[in-house]
Symmetry: C2
DNA sequence: GAAATAACATAGCACTGCTATGCCATGTAG
DNA sequence: CTACATGGCATAGCAGTGCTATGTTATTTC
């Protein structure tokens, strides 16, 4: 019945916003559309508001993260896999610190962000495999382990991305996770052996 | 030589800002001074800029936190003390979630925030006592333990204050810390006994 | 008491996100 | 194949933002 919205415009706006975030330029309505040739109204037809743009950007950030997670192979050592997922998480945040801050900036609801829920599911599945394989005590709730691991990663990452701590601090992640797994029933000796190369920051 | 700055004005501005944060009202230059009877310039004479106000507010938040830390008694169980400090940390953040978000909002430098450094010192001292008491392996660096505990608390807290996770998630803190301490050499059995009442969220 | 100095008040700046309005490209109906 | 309705998009202007230039006034020192 009417002119359809041009997906290319939407894409261009999102990509420019992401680039401006990377370049640490302030992303404002006018500065955003300036480069794209579109008018300010384009933002409102495609995203409804600036907050809508941020939400779309958050969504994209979590989708990227999900892609990174999907690239982590599942081995026969589920706890090593979980650690590898967390390392991918840290690397993603380290590579896009400003996007990461946007992802957790405002008050977000996991329900409103299926992509975020999906990323958490990756951790839950690895934890469940660990329980099923007998690496963690049978009464261990996979969701709890996943949330604990997530909290550790998020805590370290936001302290590093926020400035107060240097990036090397992220190296604490693996030992903390090992301790966490040991506390949940994993053999500490075996856990120590599972530390792989490529897990340094 | 000239008129001295009135500390009461500064105090009133800070208190009103804190109250507006608590009431979830947007804190803007004009809305802030509106209630105090002062003019907009008062903010600039006392804080230099809005960012200066935020920094002063951050400083006050950390000072409050330090006060809360100082109320935690040092017992003969340093790891229990460290856990109690982290619980005080969580409680402080839970009681003032918006202030907590301001405290870690912008890119902050610990160097610029002596109060923040002082709070971290509380954790470091407890960790050092634990090492000295033989509760943790001698080669354990107290600063590392402190930072790890801090990261765990901050991760949980910011996920709870940020919305995605419910407040009960904070209950994970104590088990995570116990696992952390066990990983650093503490006797797991003893650690489990140290869990006190009043550590629930 | 006079002068100097800085706190404070007023008005206006450039900028923010957003909306009211109008134009025009496009898909559908006849 | 044309007329029309619909909604994407452009322009201009709104209230609100942090901040600053300028003037006034209170206070301290000589």
């Amino acid at each position: 019945m009417a002119r359809p919205t041009d997906p290319a415009v939407r894409r261009r706006l999102l990509e420019r916003a992401a680039r401006m975030l990377r370049d640490r330029e302030p992303v404002t309505l006018r500065s955003l559309v300036a480069g794209t040739g579109a008018s300010t109204m384009a933002v409102y037809t495609h995203f409804g508001s600036m907050e809508g743009l941020w939400q779309a950007l958050r969504r994209e950030g979590f989708t990227d993260l999900e892609t990174a997670f999907s690239a982590v192979p599942a081995t026969d050592d589920p706890l090593q896999d979980l650690t590898a997922l967390i390392c991918a998480y840290l690397r993603h945040g380290l590579d896009h610190p400003d996007l990461y801050r946007v992802m957790f900036d405002a008050s977000i609801e996991l329900v409103d962000l299926p992509a975020a829920d999906a990323t958490l599911d990756y951790l839950v599945r690895a934890a469940r495999r660990a329980v099923d394989a007998g690496r963690l005590r049978p009464e261990t709730a996979p969701l709890d382990v996943a949330i604990q691991a997530w909290a550790v990663a998020h805590g370290l990452l936001s302290l590093v991305a926020g400035g107060p701590l240097p990036r090397e601090t992220l190296q604490h992640a693996v030992p903390i996770l090992s301790a966490l797994f040991a506390g949940a029933g994993d053999d500490p000796a075996r856990a120590r052996l599972s530390v792989r190369a490529g897990w340094s920051f």
